[in-house]
Symmetry: C2
Subunit: 297 residues, 2 copies
């Protein structure tokens, strides 16, 4: 169901999603883990999803002029990190979500202990997969560090968002920005940097791609927040209206719906500007950001 959704919403993601899903399935089959873990991880990892993060890794590598396939290991690693975070965020002690991508969440399906352990295993397996890339070892070490710091940043963001702990003197807008940059932004930025490293990009090109990832990440979160207040759960495929209910900071909640929409357009342009020095190899990234600005789920 979700794959169909994706293909109608983003031509660019539809084009790479199958390659990513096939590679995720192959890596999972080859892994030597407890069969119960493999089953649990397969349930979450191969149930659709946009594949936005791994796609960004592949397309950022491609934008540097190499074949996108070189970046499949790090791309799959990043999708594992994203999936682990969804599984743990859904747990009863966290967001307590019963549905994800139109199906019962893992802890509902297989029990809480399995969900905790499967999330942990996805996190550590990601670091095996991240090193599976044919670039020189120094570049692999950089990929590992980027993946690790981005994951830690994402977890910090989750803490700020669900537990708190940000300095009280910050305005809501400042808090929202910190949460966005860590919770969602860190992995999207890392995706672009990891792709650039896989393509052995020069430092300037790498920074252009990271700037693109930052703008896209901020835009993505605002669109997500807008969908949470404007769309039905059935359409989006997960519970909506939850942010408001949980008293979470969101862009429409802090600056209003109209200003959030303006911000989306401003960030879309900033993402394009970041790619100005890159050639036609970066066209899929350009199209992707246009598509993400107008997505409805």
């Amino acid at each position: 169901m979700n794959t169909l959704m994706t293909s109608t919403e983003s031509r660019v993601l539809a084009e790479v999603a199958d390659q990513i899903s096939d590679d995720l399935a192959r890596r999972l089959r080859c892994s030597e883990i407890a069969p119960l873990l493999e089953e649990a991880i397969s349930y979450c990892l191969l149930s659709g999803g946009k594949r936005l993060r791994p796609a960004l890794v592949l397309l950022s590598a491609e934008a540097t002029g190499v074949d996108r396939s070189i970046a499949l290991g790090p791309a799959c690693a990043l999708e594992m990190i994203h999936t682990f975070s969804l599984v743990h965020d859904d747990l009863p002690a966290m967001d307590d979500d019963a549905m994800r991508r139109g199906r019962p969440t893992l802890h509902v399906q297989a029990g809480e202990a399995t969900a905790i352990l499967a999330g942990d295993a996805m996190l550590s397996m990601a670091f095996e997969w991240a090193t599976d890339v044919a670039v020189e070892p120094g570049a692999i070490v950089r990929i590992v560090r980027e993946l690790a710091t981005a994951t830690t940043d994402m977890i910090s963001g989750q803490v700020y968002d669900t537990i708190g702990g940000l300095p009280t003197e910050l305005t809501d807008e400042q808090r929202l920005q910190i949460i966005q940059r860590t919770k969602t932004g860190a992995l999207l930025r890392a995706a672009c940097r990891m792709g650039a490293i896989c393509g052995e990009a020069d430092p300037q090109t790498e920074e252009h791609l990271v700037a693109y990832g930052e703008a896209l990440g901020e835009m993505f979160q605002i669109v997500d927040d807008l969908l949470d207040v404007t769309q039905t759960a059935e359409h989006v495929g997960k519970a909506t209206g939850k942010d408001l209910e949980a008293g979470k900071l969101t862009s429409p909640g802090v600056v209003g719906i109209d200003k959030s929409r303006e911000e989306v357009e401003r960030l879309r342009q900033r993402a394009h500007a970041a790619l100005a020095a890159l050639g036609a190899e970066a066209d899929p990234l350009r199209s992707l950001c246009d598509e993400m600005a107008v997505r409805t789920r």
Copy 2:
């Protein structure tokens, strides 16, 4: 309290424990994470503990003839992995333990959401720390892979031990061996291999150290199982008699107390034999294994 315990029980661990604890504290202070996470991780990470795994990394590096300090990054990484696994294993949905090292477990102290997220953060931070070592990048990549596969193996072992899923045709003894080799054995073996890589050991020396780690790991678990049936909780510092209560497979449960004690001695000798080709630099490892064979907590 625990540090005192350690120093009376193992001279070798007492000698390196402070260096490890200081470095753990320093790395944690330097990390840019949510303050609530830092506090939670500090609560678990700096509350004593034997420091057996990081000590094995340092002493294995030393056994190859280099200064042990070179291996501090990977050593601290491994202690983070061990500590994350304790935090998640203690969760209500897992072993549901209220006490650890004589203090309330993290989820009792700070809440379940914090315990889940702090565990996750320790896991990802470990991979940052693991790359902080002054050897050539190819060796760092090997360290990362070893840490990742060992962590995944440990999680598989935890699944076998608490949820199950091992083939039904295996005997209890075979199941116990698989659980031991994954749940406890994987990290202890990895400790020795990571130390060997930090010391840029030749392949043969590396295999000797790994063989030592395997024997020590198996011995360590049997001693742990023996303590669970023969010692009081107050003396050991955590709940005892729990394995029996939970119906878990243990060495004394499967082969009896006397045969378990014989096995400890056999493994102690095997650990010594593995080091036969190494010089006096490996003496701390030799003493450590003797001390671990007779520990009472």
